[in-house]
């Protein structure tokens, strides 16, 4: 049985922040009416999160969680091995709702950025206010990193997790390396 492989096989880099590719993460794109109780209940069963996140927020614990993508879209995080079963259950639970749930685990790459300068590394690449006043744990943002679309959220330990398309994983990793190069701390965020 051949193992599934993430885009970059778990590479990492240490500069003013630590950059790691996280490996495979189960992900389900769910589009539907977010005010629908049946949908909320199904999401809770799939992810363990009791409530849906508010706009621009992520509720994530380890490999499970929910990210708010748009007024009619959520990104559900589940352990990679369990995505098939969870998706099946979700689709079954939503069979009477107008909703779309699809497995996008393999369409993405995930990175983690940790360290004091993590905010600054991202601020070099994304047109987003990453100051402490504006960006705190739980905050989720879809934007771009340099020239490609990406989304990221901040964890309780003030590290970031970044999701991008799998095809540009190599580009994003190299971008993050440049942004985290030694000697490049800005010292303001």
């Amino acid at each position: 049985m051949s193992d599934a492989v993430s885009a970059l096989g778990g590479v990492s880099f240490d500069g003013i922040a630590r950059i790691e590719e996280c490996g495979l993460q189960g992900m389900i794109t769910l589009r539907g009416d977010l005010s629908d109780q049946a949908l909320a209940a199904a999401v809770t069963r799939a992810t363990g999160q009791k409530k849906l996140p508010e706009a621009n927020r992520a509720r994530v614990a380890g490999e499970s969680g929910v990210c708010w993508m748009s007024p009619d879209e959520l990104l559900l995080l589940v352990p990679y091995e369990e995505v098939g079963g969870r998706l099946e259950a979700l689709v079954a639970a939503l069979k009477d709702s107008h909703a779309l749930a699809v497995n996008v685990s393999d369409a993405r790459a995930v990175f983690r950025v940790t360290g004091d300068a993590a905010r600054e590394v991202l601020a070099k690449l994304a047109p987003v206010d990453l100051s402490r006043d504006a960006f705190q744990p739980g905050r989720f943002r879809r934007t771009r990193l340099a020239q490609v679309p990406a989304a990221f959220w901040m964890e309780e330990d003030e590290s970031f997790r970044i999701v991008c398309f799998r095809s540009v994983a190599d580009y994003v990793f190299k971008l993050l390396k440049v942004a985290a190069q030694p000697g490049s701390k800005v010292g303001v965020l």
């Binding site: 621009n56 007024p71 879209e73 047109p127 943002r141």
Partner: protein, 109 residues
């Protein structure tokens, strides 16, 4: 570089995260329309110096289309609003009137 507030995710977004979509509130003319209607629909556009209504998409963000009312001469933004409407809502029109009394744009004023 403009900043517009996406009415769907609420973020104030840099122009680099947005995609422009041209003039707003254009009515589609399909089969059965006259040549003149089709020409208007496909090709005729306002080019005002002043109040203008546009379509934008929060392309690198939540992906939603929205409308923006702004002044092309000063870049003042009167407001952004839902894409699911065929005309500017009253509060947007009021905001424009406050800044530019007597404005008009196509059939709206």
């Amino acid at each position: 570089m403009l900043i517009l507030r996406c009415p769907y995710c609420g973020n104030d977004v840099d122009e680099t995260d947005l995609a422009p979509g041209g003039e707003a509130h254009i009515r589609r003319h399909g089969p059965g329309s006259t040549d003149a209607e089709l020409t208007d629909y496909l090709f005729q556009r306002e080019n005002p110096r002043g109040v203008h209504f546009e379509r934008w998409r929060h392309a690198a963000g939540c992906g939603k289309w929205f409308h923006a009312a702004r002044a092309t001469d000063t870049l003042q933004v009167f407001g952004t609003y839902s894409a699911q409407t065929t005309e500017p809502p009253q509060e947007i029109r009021d905001a424009i009137t406050k800044a530019r009394p007597g404005w008009s744009w196509r059939e709206f004023s």
